[in-house]
């Protein structure tokens, strides 16, 4: 069953095109990571799903219902952590939850939810005294009220420390196991890597890549970088390294040579240097991080469109 469907969505603000003919589908039970740099159109997309704004063109549906005409009924089935929100300063955490529970006609226990997000001690304090991280946890707990079928989380890790971000991921996994579909946006690849079934990368209002993390990595043909620290960077040794099979993109520094290598080429490069006139003092390898992958995608796109 399709939970989210965006069909040719275009959104213009005056002369600025925020979303350009965006198609996107999320199936029931998926965890979908919506990635993109700031300003790429992620929040605009989410604002359309929530009917905060309306698309210039195209149709958006949630659970097969139009997001505009059936907005309130749809919002009964979803939990939301929006961006650029504010809590009610004078209400306590518990009162926020009580209002949410009443609004959704749910029967959750506010304390249980606050414990789940790790702020039970703040239950009876007013929200104006909460830190950014505590506020984010409170709003996440509000999103969990009534066991929604879909969670829409806009940059959920904002304001959380690494530990908080890990707990957020755990909660997302738990909710998914319960059967909820998860749609969350982030500008940090690392956060989606561990938990997403599928990732869509948005840049300048267009989806430039959409696949599993594994597939994305394959498509980009990213390679391992081998960095060699040597006694002297001579033209002869650079030439020799360049001629090894599986080596590409050789860069040199003061006393080091960095090369991109294909799988299984490391030994050949090291042997080449050891049999040359220069001395190999140290070496290290690093795999292309998803961050590099993400950067590669988004910069390629920018360069392509420039």
């Amino acid at each position: 069953m399709t939970v989210i469907k965006l069909d040719g969505i275009t959104k213009k603000f005056g002369s600025v095109t925020a979303l350009d003919n965006l198609d996107l589908t999320v199936e029931k039970g998926e965890i979908y990571g919506f990635l993109g740099p700031n300003g790429s159109g992620k929040s605009t997309t989410i604002n359309i799903l929530l009917d905060f704004i309306q698309p210039t063109n195209g149709q958006a549906t949630l659970f097969g219902q139009d997001v505009h005409t059936n907005s309130a009924a749809i919002r009964d089935r979803i939990g939301v952590l929006p961006d650029a929100y504010d809590t009610y300063d004078r209400l306590t955490g518990r009162q926020h939850l009580e209002f949410t529970i009443e609004s959704k006609g749910a029967s959750d226990d506010p304390m249980e939810l606050l414990e789940r997000v790790g702020i039970p001690e703040a239950a009876d304090r007013t929200a104006d005294g909460y830190s950014k991280g505590m506020t984010q946890r409170l709003v996440l707990s509000m999103a969990l009220v009534g066991d929604p079928d879909l969670l829409i989380l806009d940059e959920p890790s904002t304001g959380l420390d690494p530990n908080g971000a890990r707990e957020m991921r755990e909660i997302i996994m738990e909710q998914n196991q319960r059967g909820a579909t998860i749609f969350f946006s982030s500008h940090i690849m690392e956060q989606v890597e561990a938990i997403c079934d599928r990732v869509g990368i948005l840049s300048n209002g267009t989806l430039i890549a959409e696949d599993s993390i594994h597939e994305l990595r394959q498509q980009m043909d990213t390679k391992t970088t081998l960095t060699l620290v040597v006694s002297d960077v001579t033209p002869a040794v650079v030439d020799a390294v360049q001629n090894c099979t599986g080596v590409s993109n050789v860069t040199t520094g003061n006393d080091q040579i960095s090369v991109s290598i294909a799988d299984g080429s490391k030994a050949a490069v090291i042997n080449t240097i050891e049999s040359s006139a220069v001395e190999l003092q140290d070496f290290s390898t690093s795999e292309a991080s998803l961050e590099d992958l993400f950067t590669a995608y988004t910069t390629e796109q920018t360069e392509g469109s420039a």
Partner: protein
């Protein structure tokens, strides 16, 4: 019944933040003070309380300034304030339609102003009786009901307005502007229109006079006065044209409750919340 959840929240928030308490104190001071002053003044000048206009009913004139001010300042930030802070995003992430939000805010704030009005009148009534003045019960009750209705009209104006604008930037000026419009400027503007009609000789003299008196009758305060006259046993005047008759006052009050709110809903349903 999503609006009722929002209306209840409004009332709860107001009592938690002591806004309700402050409002009740203001009303009580106003009514008790006004009743006291009016009775004392009457006793000084008339020797005894005039039977034609019992003290509590002389409140219609000060009420005409007090209720617009309280009604407007009770609602003018209700929606645009949440919009500017961002709490509207949390509210509209929940299953409330935008219409429910406007309606809930209106009902909650009307209940707020209405309960303060009731308590104020009650204390005013007690003061009146305690000072030995007459308290004609039917007139007194109709004055209470109509005051609650007039309060609702001004809450509708301010909530409708609050739903229609994007930013809080000029909200305080707008608030004062609205209060001035309905208390003083309406009369000034009506006279101005009359002058213009005469200056450019538009229509007959009767027509000019009718236009002016019709516009004057559209003021919610006028509506309140003429509706009250029609209920009051003391003051049964009827005009020669329909808009000067008592029933038209009820129409005017209904207009000011329905139209600003409907306009606010219409605007709010179409606006983009970014």
């Amino acid at each position: 019944m999503s609006w009722s959840v929002i209306a209840k929240k409004e009332l709860r928030d107001a009592s938690r933040s002591r806004r309700l308490f402050a409002l009740i104190v203001t009303f009580v001071l106003f009514f008790a003070g006004a009743a006291f002053v009016i009775i004392k003044v009457m006793n000084t000048f008339g020797g005894n309380v005039s039977p034609e206009t019992p003290a509590i009913l002389s409140l219609t004139i000060p009420l005409g300034i007090f209720l617009p001010a309280v009604g407007i300042f009770s609602g003018y930030r209700s929606i645009v304030g949440e919009r500017e802070s961002g709490s509207l995003k949390l509210l509209l992430s929940l299953p409330h339609s935008r219409t429910d939000v406007v309606l809930g805010k209106f009902l909650g704030r009307t209940a707020l102003v209405g309960s303060a009005t009731l308590i104020g009148f009650l204390v005013g009534g007690i003061v009146t009786v305690a000072l030995g003045a007459e308290l004609p019960i039917v007139d007194y009750l109709s004055l209470i009901v109509l005051s609650v209705v007039l309060g609702a009209a001004f809450v509708s104006i301010s909530v409708g307005f609050s739903a229609s604008i994007r930013s809080e930037d000029l909200i305080v000026f707008i608030g004062f502007g609205l209060v001035l419009l309905f208390t003083m400027l309406w009369g000034v503007l009506t006279s101005l229109i009359g002058m213009l009609l005469r200056r450019y000789d538009l229509g007959s003299q009767t027509f000019q006079a009718d236009i002016v008196s019709f516009i004057r009758a559209l003021n919610p305060q006028r509506g309140f006065n003429s509706a009250y006259s029609s209920l009051s046993m003391l003051n049964n005047t009827s005009g020669d044209v329909f808009w000067q008759e008592g029933w038209f006052g009820f129409i005017v009050l209904a207009f000011w409750i329905v139209v600003p709110l409907a306009f606010g809903m219409w605007r709010f349903n179409r606006t983009e919340l970014t």
